[in-house]
């Protein structure tokens, strides 16, 4: 069960990726994964097996753009950045997330009062 704790809730990976990208100009896949891990204080771990398909899907749908570039250590890496429609998607997803968490909190709070 402990392993599941760090799994990312279905559908939130997109939100996390977009949010990570929104805070910087361009990031490669590894940096996105590290950022999520770090920002969540190691609570969330992104599976590489879902991260890269998700990145490529987002790119194909035009929400993020990708470009080959060099890292500080002079390695060739693929850098991702948000597009305009990606920014819009991020806003929508954030709103959805806020609604969802508010809803879940409401449900939890309501049942808590019942008890």
């Amino acid at each position: 069960m402990a392993a599941n704790k760090s799994d990312i809730l279905q559908g939130t990976l997109t939100l996390l990726v977009l949010k990570s990208l929104s805070q910087s100009r361009a990031l490669h896949g590894y940096a996105i994964a590290s950022h999520i891990k770090r920002a969540s204080s190691d609570a969330l771990r992104v599976e590489e097996g879902s991260l890269y398909p998700a990145l490529h899907r987002l790119e194909q749908e035009g929400f993020i753009a990708a470009e080959w570039g060099l890292t500080e250590t002079n390695r060739k890496a693929r850098f991702y950045s948000l597009t305009r429609s990606g920014r819009k998607l991020l806003r929508d997803e954030e709103n959805n997330w806020a609604r969802l968490t508010a809803g879940v909190a409401g449900v939890l709070g309501f049942s808590g009062q019942e008890a």
């Binding site: 490669h28 896949g29 590894y30 994964a33 590489e48 097996g49 879902s50 890269y52 398909p53 490529h56 899907r57 790119e59 194909q60 749908e61 035009g62 929400f63 753009a65 890292t71 250590t73 390695r75 060739k76 890496a77 693929r78 597009t83 305009r84 429609s85 990606g86």
Partner: protein, 854 residues
């Protein structure tokens, strides 16, 4: 940017597998670096990083799923689905493909002709510096001669200059006598044209002068008539020429020649009086044409003064060779191309309308697909593939049709079109056809696919309404566009038809029934005595053939233009500038055969052994103004004072069908002049097929070096004079009919689907007391309204393009009210015919059944 990347994502594979591999390797290395920092050995770090990463090949595929070949796979899958769909509707598929094939085939055929005639390079190294030098005397175009060529060759702004004339020679080939077309070149030809030589060599400077009997074969002649054999001697009109080389295949000027042969030295050094030479000059590099023209103007003035007898009032103007080649043909070819593009547009509109109708049927499919996760783009792709498949199949079939189409165009288009014989389906045409097919796919498929892919919820009960209304409005607009285009094309077709009919319905003023036209061309170098001896003996021989009443000879038949012009003065009347007038040769028999009446005086008589002239009525009326009879008038040519008698006046023969007023003309006995292109006229009721072998036999007996070029009824022969008008009205007319048919199909589709959609409504109306005729009137009113709008738009287009059309089609009659009324009637009839079946179906609506109809 995002739209672009999305489009790219839909239609193109994005990224290769190795790129993904690279990206993942980077990830692993990055993780390994981290592990090293945490204290692992490099080997351990890499192993751990890989372990953490898990089965990379598994999700490498997952990543790729969002990527590369999936795109291709999507296209293939959608194509398979669409093919299945089309197979279920074979009639729709076949009609669409067939109509697209006709449209694309026609566009491709005309493109290949326009390409050959207008756009293809001449393939001479300095083609952009090559100019034609047009000489004129008193503003009337005339030919040049070797003496004046030598004068032009001294000009400093010209790099080189040469001249040529066309000549028909008889080749004693392996399969008997054949006519070959030769370009007789003058000195300077190699320096001016610098023609690329495929085999052998060109002419040397000495050989250009015409002292040696040598020839250059065009590639076409060498390949087809000499069977690509070794170069050797060839016998032409009784003389042996050595073929020294073969020209490169692509040379596009002059058109349709077999051989280049230096003109005989005697011809090249001939008299300054002659006027038969076409001049080609090459400007020095970087010399502006205006500078060269200025020098030419000065030289012309100088020559006018130096040789007042022959060169008075001489002028000469430069015209770009490339421009000249395509000038006359360009506008009418482009107009024809525009006409077929209009027809193709109508075909696309019809297919778009059908796809739109299908799109409405597909709404539930779209809803289901998008509910299952299909994106808008993937739906558009799925639906657009249908149009793409139809267009590509139509294009492929169209290309096969175009092979035949080009051959038909080569037959029917005026042979005078330069380089028409070069037209064929090549890679450029194929590429063009592919482009047109893709455009057709976009034009016919994109809007329907866009509309059909509109996201609608499965449960949304009202979903169809707005999409349906949208596509309905669009289909109505399509029909209006079709009516407008038909109105434009039909009006143009009718006007061209009128122009042709006006030409051919004019009284021609000579006999064409039971007259046979027989052409025997001698080479231009034929000895004058030999020519005249042949002509006299041939006339006698021909007269003895069975069923031949009379025979005559002339330089050119009526309606086919003139040949020579002369400066002439009438004694006692012409003072100052001589009359520049048309001159013909003839035998007295020619006037009898053609039923030309002798109005005054007598016919010239060879036995009188002096030069005698007959003038036509137009000449007598205009120039014999002193009241004396024609037989009292005398003529002299140029500045000479040798006066000759006019002996008679004959009725006018028209030179050109388009001429309202006949040209003044002078006739002289054939032996008084040199014109080796013999045109005989036979008066006979014996069919051409029966006489032909006898005529050929007699000609061969009289002179073995000459052949009969053509034997045909005069009625057919003179049709050549109105050929352009006939062809363009036939071509545009048939495309206009096609347009009318396409319009009718479009209208039928719209109204038929309207009736189906309103079946229930009509049932209710009938139940409430409406009558079948009133319902029919409803539909007729609707179509009438559409037709009125479309027709008005079409006529507006006619008026707006009026200048363009008059420029493209010479002799186009003005737009008359009657024409517009006729076109209006044609469109009304076609529209009504198109909706007959839907109108008839209304009678079968049964109110009770219709209410249950879904």
């Amino acid at each position: 940017m995002s739209l672009w990347s999305r489009l790219r994502g839909t239609f193109l594979p994005r990224q290769s597998g190795s790129n993904i591999q690279q990206e993942l390797e980077f990830h692993i290395e990055q993780r390994a670096d981290e592990l090293i920092e945490e204290g692992h050995t490099p080997e351990d770090a890499l192993r751990l990083a890989r372990l953490e990463f898990g089965n990379s090949s598994k999700w490498r595929e997952e990543t790729r799923d969002a990527d590369i070949f999936i795109v291709l796979e999507n296209w293939l899958r959608d194509t398979r689905q669409t093919l299945r769909g089309l197979r279920r509707r074979p009639i729709f598929a076949l009609t669409a493909i067939a109509s697209l094939a006709i449209g694309i085939g026609a566009v491709a055929s005309l493109f290949s002709v326009a390409d050959a005639v207008v756009w293809k390079p001449i393939a001479l190294p300095h083609e952009h510096d090559l100019y034609i030098l047009d000489e004129a005397r008193r503003g009337v175009p005339s030919g040049s001669n070797g003496k004046r060529l030598a004068d032009w060759q001294t000009l400093s702004s010209l790099a080189a200059a040469t001249g040529w004339y066309g000549d028909t020679l008889v080749w004693r080939g392996p399969s008997g006598n054949e006519a070959v077309r030769s370009m007789r070149t003058y000195t300077g030809i190699m320096a001016t044209a610098e023609p690329p030589i495929a085999i052998g060599r060109g002419f040397t400077k000495e050989e250009e002068g015409g002292t040696e009997a040598i020839a250059l074969a065009t590639h076409q002649f060498w390949r087809t008539r000499l069977n690509s054999g070794p170069l050797g001697p060839i016998e032409l009109s009784g003389k042996t020429y050595q073929i020294v080389g073969v020209l490169a295949p692509s040379i596009g000027y002059p058109d349709a020649m077999d051989l280049w042969i230096p003109a005989p030295a005697g011809m090249q050094n001939g008299t300054r009086v002659a006027s038969y030479l076409s001049l080609i000059v090459r400007l020095k590099p970087d010399t502006p044409p205006a500078t060269a023209q200025a020098e030419i103007n000065l030289a012309a003035t100088r020559l006018s003064h130096a040789y007042p007898k022959t060169d008075a009032n001489l002028s000469a103007s430069l015209a770009s060779l490339r421009e000249r080649i395509s000038r006359e043909s360009r506008t009418s070819l482009f107009a024809l191309l525009a006409v077929v593009v209009c027809v193709l547009a109508m075909i696309c509109v019809n297919i778009a309308a059908l796809l739109l109708a299908r799109g409405s049927e597909r709404e539930s499919e779209s809803a289901l697909r998008s509910a299952l996760g299909a994106s808008r783009a993937s739906l558009i792709r799925l639906y657009w593939i249908e149009a793409l498949l139809l267009s590509l199949s139509g294009g492929a079939l169209g290309i096969t049709l175009a092979f035949a189409g080009v051959n038909i165009l080569k037959q029917v288009l005026p042979a005078g079109l330069p380089r028409l014989s070069d037209a064929h389906i090549d890679a450029r045409v194929l590429l063009f056809a592919l482009g047109v097919s893709l455009l057709a796919a976009l034009a016919s498929g994109l809007i329907p696919a866009w509309l059909a892919s509109r996201k609608t919820g499965l449960h949304d009960a009202t979903r169809g309404a707005s999409a349906k209304a949208g596509s309905k409005r669009l289909r109505t607009a399509f029909v209006v566009v079709e009516i407008a285009l038909s109105a434009l094309l039909v009006t143009t077709g009718v006007r061209l038809g009128q122009a042709f009919l006006e030409l051919t319905s004019r009284p021609i003023g000579f006999r064409t029934a039971d007259v046979l036209a027989v052409t025997v061309p001698f080479p231009w170098t034929v000895n004058e005595d030999r020519l005249h001896a042949f002509t006299t003996r041939a006339l006698d021989e021909f007269r003895t053939l069975p069923g031949v009443t009379d025979v005559g000879v002339t330089d050119q038949y009526p309606l086919l233009g003139g040949t020579q012009t002369r400066d002439v003065r009438v004694q006692g009347i012409t003072t100052g500038t001589p009359i520049h007038t048309s001159m013909h040769v003839a035998s007295p028999g020619y006037f009898n055969v053609m039923n030309v009446r002798l109005l005054e005086g007598r016919m010239f008589d060879i036995r009188n052994k002096v030069e005698e002239y007959v003038v036509n009525e137009a000449f007598a009326r205009r120039y014999f103004t002193d009241g004396r009879p024609a037989s009292a008038q005398r003529l002299a040519f140029g500045t000479s004072n040798a006066w000759s008698d006019v002996v008679g006046v004959v009725s006018n023969l028209p030179q050109d069908a388009a001429d309202e007023t006949p040209e003044p003309e002078i006739f002289t006995y054939y032996a008084n002049d040199y014109w080796p292109y013999l045109n005989f006229a036979f008066q006979t009721s014996t069919p051409a097929a029966v006489l032909a072998p006898l005529i050929r036999q007699r000609v061969a007996k009289l002179d073995g070096t000459v052949i009969v070029k053509s034997i045909e009824p005069m009625r057919e022969k003179i049709k050549e004079g109105t050929k352009d008008e006939r062809i363009r009205s036939t071509l545009v007319g048939s495309f206009a009919l096609l347009a009318l048919l396409l319009m009718a199909i479009g209208i039928h589709g719209l109204i038929a689907s309207d009736v189906s959609a309103r079946w229930r409504e009509f049932g209710i109306r009938l139940a409430l007391g409406a009558t079948v005729p009133s319902l029919r009137l409803l539909l007729i009113a609707k179509i009438a309204a559409l037709a009125a709008i479309g027709f008005a738009a079409g006529i507006t287009a006619v008026l707006l393009t009026s200048n363009l059309l008059t420029a493209s089609f010479a002799g186009l009659p003005p737009i008359r009210t009657a024409t517009i009324a006729a076109v209006c009637a044609a469109i009304a009839i076609a529209s009504l015919t198109a909706i007959l079946w839907p109108l008839y179906r209304i009678a079968r609506i049964h109110p009770a059944a219709a209410l249950r109809h879904e």
